[in-house]
Symmetry: C2
Subunit: 204 residues, 2 copies
DNA sequence: TTTGAAAGTGAGCGATAGCTCATATTAATA
DNA sequence: TATTAATATGAGCTATCGCTCACTTTCAAA
């Protein structure tokens, strides 16, 4: 329970050099994910994570400086996967509507492991600013801004209000859908698309 | 840390009969609120709550069966205040646009104590279903449905998808605004209104 | 092989959390 | 004023948590 000052580090203290240690880190992260999505914060302890990963508590602390670091790494892992998909949009030519594709990716991602995604969203907000991953948020704003302008709508590149609003709309609707156990991704994506386009078009 | 089965009660174990005990309960709730909005979950312990409330830990447990019950009561307190404002809309004639009024109320409420509101939103999702207050959600859906139909838009009263989407949009945008430290309520309310009306009007 | 670094182990420490209960105080009732 | 129910107290119990460290095992380079 002790949380001395200067202890909130994000990065693993040791970088895996051999294959087996990489597997250990993966096992720890996956164990943490499974505990979180099955029982929430109850039972989400470092000892429980190590036990479920089939790894000793000592090994866990060889790679993570603290419990929050595990959660942060987990968030980063999911965000990287999401960002990888999003970054693929540009590669896949500009044939279809990139905004629509973006929404579909967000929906797909959130509904793949809904319980985990939702609890990580919550935990991300709870984590101290200096430990929580934040790259995704900035990258997303830029990307959304680009797509919105490409679609012919005006935006304010400076304060990025429009992009932030759109992201807030998507996140809000996708989160709610996960909460209510929705599973029809197409329908959900359509509704979100309506909200976003409606917001951009509305001239009241 | 023990959390035996059957211990997750929502209601205070004892109902205050004298004035002073009512004051005790209020002091506990306000102390919990202050701790939460000032330092988040760090330091949000029953002992700390009692100390800040100027009340003994024993008194705290006379009225609350556990820590979660305090948080739940706090959420309920805020939701009741919000609902009281919303219920006042109908009383205040149907002169202006009720949807717009509803949005303004939500914005005002969230930005009055933004840190507290945001952390309670998070905690509400984290709390076990059987202990978290849920009346507001149901009431809100009905109200929003009514306003939307009064404004001339079609809705599906059964699955309440439209109402839920609108609530998700409002919550998402208001939460994000609180996160980014926005304080201009009028501007924010206008943007949310655009999103909601846009969603309702968009025919894609 | 030898050898040293990398990886892995787990008993157990210090801290603190949630919570109880025997007791004291206060306020309403007779 | 005497009685009793309501309210308040806080030392301290137990459980568990995050985490350390002295130690063993495994692997790969020499």
């Amino acid at each position: 329970m002790s949380r001395p000052a200067g202890k909130t580090l994000l990065k693993p203290r040791k970088t895996p050099r051999q294959a087996r240690s990489g597997a250990t880190v993966d096992a720890i992260l996956e164990a943490a994910a499974r505990i979180l999505e099955r029982s929430g914060f109850d039972g989400y302890s470092t000892n429980a994570i190590a036990r479920r990963a089939g790894v000793s508590i000592g090994s866990l602390y060889q790679y993570f400086p603290g419990k929050d670091a595990i959660t942060a790494s987990l968030i980063e892992r999911e965000q990287d996967a999401l960002w990888k998909d999003i970054a693929g949009i540009e590669a896949a030519a500009g044939g279809s509507d990139p905004l629509r594709t973006l929404i579909m990716i967000a929906v797909t991602h959130q509904l793949r492991r809904p319980a985990l995604a939702r609890i990580l969203d919550v935990e991300e907000k709870r984590l101290p600013r200096d430990i929580a991953p934040s790259r995704l948020a900035e990258q997303l704003i830029i990307t959304v801004n680009t797509y919105v302008e490409a679609a012919g709508y005006e935006t304010d590149m400076e304060d990025a209000t429009t992009a932030r609003d759109i992201i807030a709309i998507i996140r809000g609707m996708v989160d709610a859908a996960g909460q209510y156990g929705e599973h029809d991704m197409q329908t959900l994506a359509n509704r979100i698309y309506r909200a976003v386009v409606g917001y951009l078009s509305c001239e009241i």
